[in-house]
């Protein structure tokens, strides 16, 4: 009996020493507010939608000062053009010519832009600006409206341009 008690005590000590278990349980609504990640399959895209025309308005007010007319760049990064140049002697890597996923464009604008006021755009505006940027080179038509369903289906020009260099051990 005594030995049994000692054994039980040892087991109990072992368990408590192996795991602190101090993490606080996160509630689903907390996660929904925290989670900014948009996956390539569209997981995480919020409700709402935006048209090319609405995006042109938002772009002229919030983006053009840094990225130039039609996303041509200057003073900051060029966003458009360069399609078909990646195999040439002078490759031009822009969000439209190089990035493989439209979800990345949405994700990055929503989390990080505009630089002086990140996360200030409404989700409808993020959809709209994404639609506008992709329309400049004809990746989406001029009358496109993007939402959680249509955005992941947009085929970017360089969708198949990446080679995975990571080799897992298993």
């Amino acid at each position: 009996m005594y030995i049994c008690r000692i054994l039980l005590l040892c087991l109990a000590l072992n368990v408590s020493a192996a795991a602190q278990n101090l993490g606080r349980a996160l509630a689903p609504d907390e996660i929904a507010k925290l989670d900014l990640t948009i996956s390539p399959d569209g997981t995480g895209l919020p409700p709402g939608s935006g048209s090319v025309a609405a995006g042109a308005e938002v772009y002229s007010k919030k983006c053009q000062g840094c990225h130039g007319a039609d996303g041509a760049g200057k003073p900051q990064d060029r966003l458009t053009g360069g399609i078909g140049t990646l195999a040439s002697d002078k490759p031009i890597k822009t969000a439209v010519s190089f990035w493989p996923r439209a979800t990345t464009v949405f994700d990055y604008i929503r989390r990080a832009m505009p630089l002086q006021a990140p996360q200030s755009l409404k989700d409808d505006d993020v959809y709209a600006v994404t639609a506008y940027l992709l329309s400049i080179d004809g990746v989406v038509p001029k009358d496109a409206v993007l939402d959680a369903k249509s955005l992941p289906k947009v085929k970017m020009p360089n969708r198949d341009g990446f080679v995975n260099y990571w080799k897992p051990k298993k």
């Binding site: 795991a19 602190q20 278990n21 101090l22 993490g23 606080r24 349980a25 996160l26 907390e30 996660i31 925290l34 989670d35 900014l36 990640t37 948009i38 996956s39 390539p40 840094c66 003073p75 900051q76 990646l86 195999a87 002697d89 002078k90 490759p91 890597k93 969000a95 190089f98 990035w99 493989p100 996923r101 979800t103 990345t104 994700d107 990055y108 989390r111 990080a112 630089l115 990140p118 996360q119 360089n158 341009g161 990446f162 080679v163 995975n164 260099y165 990571w166 897992p168 051990k169 298993k170």
Partner: protein, 421 residues
Amino acid sequence: MKKREGFVGSDVFVAGNGLMDRRLLLGGGVAAGIAAGAAGLALGQSPDWMKTPGRGFSGYGMPSKWQEKVQRPFSPAPGRPGTGSSRTPLHLLEGTITPNGLHFERHHNGIPDIDPARHELAIHGMVKRPLAFSMENLMRYPMETHIRFIECPGNSGGYASVQPAQTTAGGINGLLSCSEWTGVRLSTLLDEAGVQPGAKWVVAEGADAAAMSRSVPLEKCLDDAVIALYQNGEAIRPEQGYPMRLLLPGFEGNMCVKWLRRLKVTDAPVDARDETSHYTELMPGGKARQYMFLQAVKSAIVKPSFGMAMRGPGLYEISGLAWTGAGKVSKVEITADGGRTWAPAALGEPVLSKALTRFRLAWKWDGRPSVLASRATDETGETQPTRAAWVAQYATGQFYHFNGIQSWAVAADGTVSNVYL
């Protein structure tokens, strides 16, 4: 121990143009040949600072005022003061540990001033129990300490340019630092949350104004990844992610997400902006390499280097840094004749895994123009490629993950410039 008498005559020279046996480090009798360049001081009379009491204590010490030129170089982008990088002045430092105030910085929209009482680390996604960890609770977990380098994958990108950049060793290679990091093993927290079958990646996100985000293989997170809370013994600096950063030893610095606030366990990478637009290499033909996480074997001579002047023929110590994300550096070779002959350098012990290794070699410079270079090999057998071989892998203008051999030209007048072999 081998007797010094063993090194006589030409025996000490083990490669062309004056490179000496690595066992013969400068010191004692070997230093006798160093040219006395500087004028001697008039010693004998006690200096002023011996004749008056020195100053008092301070709450947090600062470097000597005579060291005020030891600074991180940076050039802020107009209109974007918090975007870009500053570099560790490697050429002005010694040993392998980077002082906290000189650790390189790479920020995407400034340094947030995070109140630790209002910061939590969330773990969610493909886990059985989504959890949040306060700083107070994290501090109660068992901690571990390791010396690790962090290198930006854009480091040494200047070597991709057609003409060699005439700048200091730190100016070229200073997106590289090495610290003693202390924190909680990430696998402990992931175990507590209970990773679900089928999970393969973890998306890490910072609490900065760019919400900087990267996809990390779950395999790495369950291996040697640490939630770093301390840097060289003190709380991690704001520029390095206060109150916590993800530390992925040997992986791209950009993946070691600072101001870490969220880890989402997923079955696939998310193609975040910084793993598509950045840190991918376009190859000839138009395809791009993606997910090149490991910082490959690399080395750089920091003494002598650009901006330093050799003071005439004589004995000099060549010294530099070598590192590899794959583990330990096993060998560093040095040439003083532009790559014709190579001699092994002495490695500073202990050689640590995924940390900087200091190498040294004595060199008798005869005063003629010489080209120095270093070439490191790691324990997996990988050796640095030539610059030309590195450049040939990629399309025009690609500069991420440069690990080619670097070289310095020493002119007859003792000036040092960057040169391609």
